[in-house]
């Protein structure tokens, strides 16, 4: 137990970093689900594309003889371009794979989403091969740079990831709570037809939702690259599952819930590794999920809505 107490701060740091990434992925899942009741299984692959966009931006700005501009600017460019690229990708996917199916049985867009996921993964493998690629984070942020708290060490990289994720979530929260667009999104989420009757442009709202959700996935991809450094064509698969889990844990369709779910999932996995075994970390995470759902069938922050008849 003593060892554990000593290690607690380090574990919290590890768990929060992981959780921040999960939370960003979960947000996109949750937002799309909120407005369309669609499980967007291609979301993990959008995240993967984000990681690759960030990678190529980094390579462009980091020739072997040293960075052309300040490393901070490079990181900002990576984030912005990845978010923009993924946002556009998300909108394109929506336009071509989901929109024609808006009134189809609920399972049809699910299968279409799987098709998109297959397509993106294999298109990336075809053009970029299956090789692992590495973010050269050490050239952007000096590796030794860290805050030491006793036994724990919070590297600047991890701090950057956690802070960026939280800032993005605050912006998102502002967008949804305070702007007109956010209001429209919430209206569509509650009742699409009623919102349309009240003059909300539903199509536009859905496009924005996909844009923002996918942009957040893109940001998550770049942050993953920065902190865990390894990216490859298949990385979206398990990340997508984690994001889905986190979204459901927090209450799917609920924005603060997705964030909370992400952080809880990250921390759960981290503590599961220490207390039980890394072998069983996914199982522990799912058991936690099942317990939460049995106690609160709509997730932690999911609202209890009376079923419409």
């Amino acid at each position: 137990m003593d060892v554990f107490l000593q290690q607690l701060p380090q574990l919290l740091i590890n768990g929060l970093t992981l959780g921040a990434v999960y939370a960003l992925i979960a947000l996109g899942y949750s937002m799309v689900y909120g407005v369309l009741q669609l499980l967007n299984f291609a979301h993990g692959d959008v995240y993967m594309i984000g990681a690759f966009i960030g990678y190529f931006v980094m390579v462009a700005f980091l020739p072997p003889d040293g960075p052309i501009i300040a490393p901070v600017l490079i990181i900002i460019f990576m984030m912005l371009l990845a978010m923009l690229g993924c946002g556009v990708l998300g909108v394109v996917i929506e336009q071509f794979a989901y929109r024609p199916l808006r009134n189809a049985p609920r399972i049809a867009p699910l299968i279409s989403a799987l098709g998109v996921s297959f397509f993106i993964q294999n298109a990336v493998q075809l053009t970029l091969t299956a090789k692992f690629r590495n973010y050269e984070t050490e050239k952007l942020i000096a590796p030794g740079l860290a805050f030491d708290f006793g036994n724990a060490r919070l590297s600047v990289t991890r701090a950057l990831v956690i802070v960026t994720a939280i800032v993005l979530m605050i912006i998102l929260q502002y967008l949804i709570r305070r702007t007109k667009l956010g209001k429209a999104m919430r209206a569509v989420a509650i009742d699409r037809e009623a919102a349309a009757m009240m003059g909300v442009n539903v199509d536009q709202v859905i496009v924005f939702t996909f844009f923002i959700g996918s942009a957040l996935a893109g940001a998550a991809g770049v942050l993953t690259g920065i902190v865990f450094t390894r990216i490859y064509h298949f990385m979206g698969f398990s990340a997508g599952l984690k994001g889905f889990t986190a979204a459901v844990l927090g209450g799917i369709g609920n924005i603060p819930g997705a964030m909370l779910g992400g952080f809880i999932l990250g921390l759960t996995e981290t503590f599961a590794v220490v207390f039980i075994s890394s072998t069983y970390k996914d199982i522990v995470a799912f058991i936690v999920l099942i317990i939460v759902l049995l106690l609160r069938p709509r997730g932690l922050l999911g609202a209890r809505i009376a079923q419409k008849v």
Partner: protein, 395 residues
């Protein structure tokens, strides 16, 4: 809508018999070999490397002998069930005289009976589970040594040469890693050392920081991680460096990749150890030309490719001998493969098979990461040399 529906029906009616027909009757008088590898899916990085090396071996053989052997790839996605279908597709093609692969031990287990029945020879460049060759399948050969041979060497080296008493073991839930980890941990415990942790990760896990925290808490001196994916070794080394821990990484064959392990770790892998069944072929003068040609065409590579080249060459030469002897049948090729006696191979060692189909005189090498290189540990190779008098590492 109606029109489309009937069209789909007609198309299906037309295509299916035609498809089967051409599988059956599309016989041209050519010689083909099959290549089974996990070309897509999570292990695609290994599979494509194996595929590319096998293709290069075929090209080299064709160029040297003026033949026109064709390579037929068959994707297994590292799934035994898919591997069986893939195997069946190769078996059904009468022009195929031998198969390179499959990559994973579980795929060999699943496809073995089918290949044995069809008398089709398989030569794997990466399946290391010991029982594969001893279970009576006389059509299976491999150019790499088994876990039984390598694991104890690693365990003893960690205890005796590194002087470690507390070992932390991670496997990546593949039969390769689990087998090696078990063998090494038994040997390490026999020397009086303690295993302070045994963990598993998935091959797509990215975050090793908590495992490192746990290893630090357990007082580990060395982490033995015989993973297949070199970049995971780099992630582990980086996590150790990030937390400022004093733990040595010891990996196996999979980590022997300059690009993914050493460069991928951005210096964090410095001082790490890797044991491997093959010398780093980047260092072999005899293979320099091959390394150059491969890199120009396909890019950087790790450990899993070159053994596949060796396996392909063994197969092709056996086919040639069988053909010269006028006995170009699947059975004839199998007999010739069993008689293989190559004085040298791309791996730098001689290749001959024992009665089970295992490569004779398997050599092991232990390397330490110094700068951008894998430096051969002399003491380890001396020790190995006694075991393997014929192997000549030239680094």
């Amino acid at each position: 809508m109606k029109f489309r529906k009937s069209l789909i029906g007609v198309l299906a009616l037309a295509v299916v018999p035609m498809a089967f027909n051409s599988v059956v009757f599309a016989q041209t008088p050519t010689i083909k070999i099959g290549i089974m590898a996990p070309i897509t899916g999570p292990a695609a990085s290994i599979g494509t490397e194996q595929l590319n090396w096998a293709k290069m071996a075929v090209d080299d053989f064709n160029a040297a002998n003026g033949w026109n052997v064709e390579a037929v790839e068959s994707d297994t996605e590292l799934d035994a069930a898919k591997a069986v279908t893939a195997a069946e597709s190769l078996i059904a093609d009468a022009d195929i005289y031998g198969v390179v692969g499959p990559a994973g031990s579980q795929e060999v287990e699943a496809t073995g009976p089918k290949f044995k029945e069809a008398r089709l020879t398989t030569i794997s460049g990466s399946a290391t589970r010991p029982s594969l060759t001893t279970s009576g399948n006389d059509t299976f050969f491999r150019v790499v040594p088994t876990d039984d041979a390598q694991g104890p060497t690693d365990g003893n080296f960690i205890a005796n040469e590194l002087g470690a008493t507390k070992l932390f073991i991670i496997d990546d839930q593949t039969s390769y890693a689990a087998g090696l980890a078990d063998a090494a941990s038994a040997a390490f415990e026999a020397t009086g050392g303690t295993i302070v942790g045994r963990e598993s990760v998935k091959q797509d896990d990215q975050d090793f920081s908590t495992l490192v925290t746990k290893a630090v808490g357990a007082g580990a001196e060395v982490i033995f991680f015989p993973g297949q994916i070199a970049s995971q070794g780099a992630l582990l080394a980086k996590a150790i460096l990030e937390q400022g821990a004093d733990i040595t990484v010891f990996g196996a064959d999979g980590f022997q990749s300059v690009d993914d392990f050493i460069k991928g770790s951005a210096g964090a892998a410095e001082g790490a150890y890797v044991s491997a069944f093959a010398p780093d072929i980047h260092k072999l003068e005899s293979s320099a030309d091959m390394v150059k040609r491969y890199t120009e065409k396909y890019g950087e590579f790790g450990t899993f490719g070159p053994p596949t080249y060796a396996a392909t060459t063994v197969l092709l030469e056996a086919i040639k001998r069988a053909s010269d002897a006028g006995n170009l049948t699947r059975e004839g090729v199998r007999d010739e493969v069993a008689k293989t006696d190559q004085a040298s191979s791309v791996l730098g060692n001689a290749i001959a098979f024992d009665e089970n189909g295992d490569v004779k005189n398997a050599a092991f090498y232990i390397f330490q990461v110094v700068g951008d290189n894998f430096e051969l540990i002399p003491s380890s190779s001396d020790e190995m040399m006694e075991m393997t008098p014929e192997a000549t590492p030239s680094s």
